[in-house]
């Protein structure tokens, strides 16, 4: 993963608790985190906070497929946050697509993690998403571009946590592959996720808190 690949700006929105603007290759996503605040009575849970993720497209309303991506982001975010610490509240994460040139899901997930970090809400762990494409010759391309995704036989997005042992958080796949290929992809994506965590660390160190 080259230096130029990931770019991030934290706290670029004034009226939110946390925000992040992340570009991964040619795809760009912005995230805002609001909360914890008091929700409507119907959404209120007395022993934990509710997490609400909304995904918005550049234009138009979201499709059924986007709804599935939203569900993936929702459960990944919810698990990372210490929801028991904020009872009777809700945390709203809004993910706005700025430009989609492949790897949208992994960009959204990484951006949401950065946004949550910036908000200062207590988290169990951080997470990093990495996408890879498998070509016909069974080669694995990490962070493929649009043409590579379209010509691939399988396309996987895997999310790992920053734990010492390898733990898979989320997996979303398209196309067909064998069990061995899946395990190979896991190895490669796990190695790449380490670089994403290094990037997180670098961005946080640069941000104003430590200066």
């Amino acid at each position: 993963m080259s230096e130029e690949f990931l770019k991030c700006q934290l706290g670029f929105l004034g009226n939110t608790e946390g925000s992040a603007y992340l570009s991964q290759g040619k795809s760009t996503v912005s995230v805002s985190v609001v909360g914890p605040f008091e929700p409507k009575a119907s959404k209120c849970m007395y022993d934990r906070a509710t997490v609400d993720v909304t995904f918005r497209r550049k234009t138009g309303s979201i499709t059924v497929h986007d709804k599935m991506l939203e569900g993936i982001m929702q459960s990944t975010c919810e698990k990372a946050l210490v929801v028991e610490q904020y009872p009777r509240t809700t945390i709203v994460v809004t993910v706005q697509e700025m430009q989609d040139r492949g790897n949208l899901l992994s960009t959204c997930l990484n951006a949401s993690c950065m946004g949550l970090m910036n908000s200062g809400i207590a988290m169990h762990h951080l997470y990093a998403a990495v996408s890879c494409a498998v070509t016909e010759k069974e080669e694995i391309i990490l962070n493929p571009d649009e043409t590579q995704i379209n010509s691939s036989v399988a396309y996987l997005t895997l999310v790992f946590a920053n734990t010492e042992t390898r733990c898979l958080l989320t997996s979303h796949t398209t196309g067909e592959f064998s069990q061995k290929t899946y395990m190979d992809c896991m190895d490669k994506c796990y190695a790449a996720s380490k670089e994403v965590f290094n990037f997180y660390q670098k961005v946080i160190k640069k941000s104003s808190i430590f200066n």
Binding site: L168, S171, H172, M186
Partner: protein, 267 residues
Amino acid sequence: MNSIKKNIQDTYTKEYLALNKRNDGRELMNFRDASLNLNTIHTADGSAVVKIGNTAVVCGIKAELGVPKAEAPDIGYLLVNIELPSLCSKKIRPGIPCDEAMQMTSFLNEVCNNCKILDLQQLCISVDKLVWVLSCDIYCLNYDGSVLDACLIALLSALQTVKIPEVKYDKETEETTVIENYIPLKVNSLPVSSTFGVFNEKYILADPTEEEEQLCVSKLTVVTNGSLIFSLHKPGGEFIKDSQIQNCIKHVNNRAKTICQLIKAAQ
């Protein structure tokens, strides 16, 4: 679910799990029995009813004529839609389709594309003018966990019962004549989906019931035909280790064989 009720059920289930049993008598990696009934709806072009334990879904397929997309003029449509009505479970409210139904619909459409379930070119009647549109409506009658698995079995077996008549299309007069010569659809592959519930980092339950799904922190769905994997879907939740994934895939492959036999035997 009410937290107090959940807490009681959680302890109850944990006591069972310590003995490697579940409260319905199954072992951790045992699946429920599936049953299948074909051609139950006579007004549809193909239909199937599937039961897995208490989960019941019905799938009906209607073939209609339509105009193909300009960017793909020689292929027909396969439209899959899952509906979770409020009668199937108490957690679903009447009104607009719930998020879960949308996510399941999207997942099933993705699986159909991944394993190229049908050769869509066989649905073409006249290039750029007329194609078959197969609308597959899946309706959940009883929601008792692993609905997606039942939906996929229902869709596959219903597709195999579809017979489409031969159609003659006159390009100049734009007239269509239907000849009563029915041809069955060719189904390419038999993907089988299996859901696992991750109870905690130690226990993984195969084919969870609704009650178990509520207690589980995350779900893992694997779609395979016995050798190739078409989807390994895990939307967030608790961590899962490599060995657990491999164990799940092993059990899915066995399950795929049983389900394939079931579908083949039903015809």
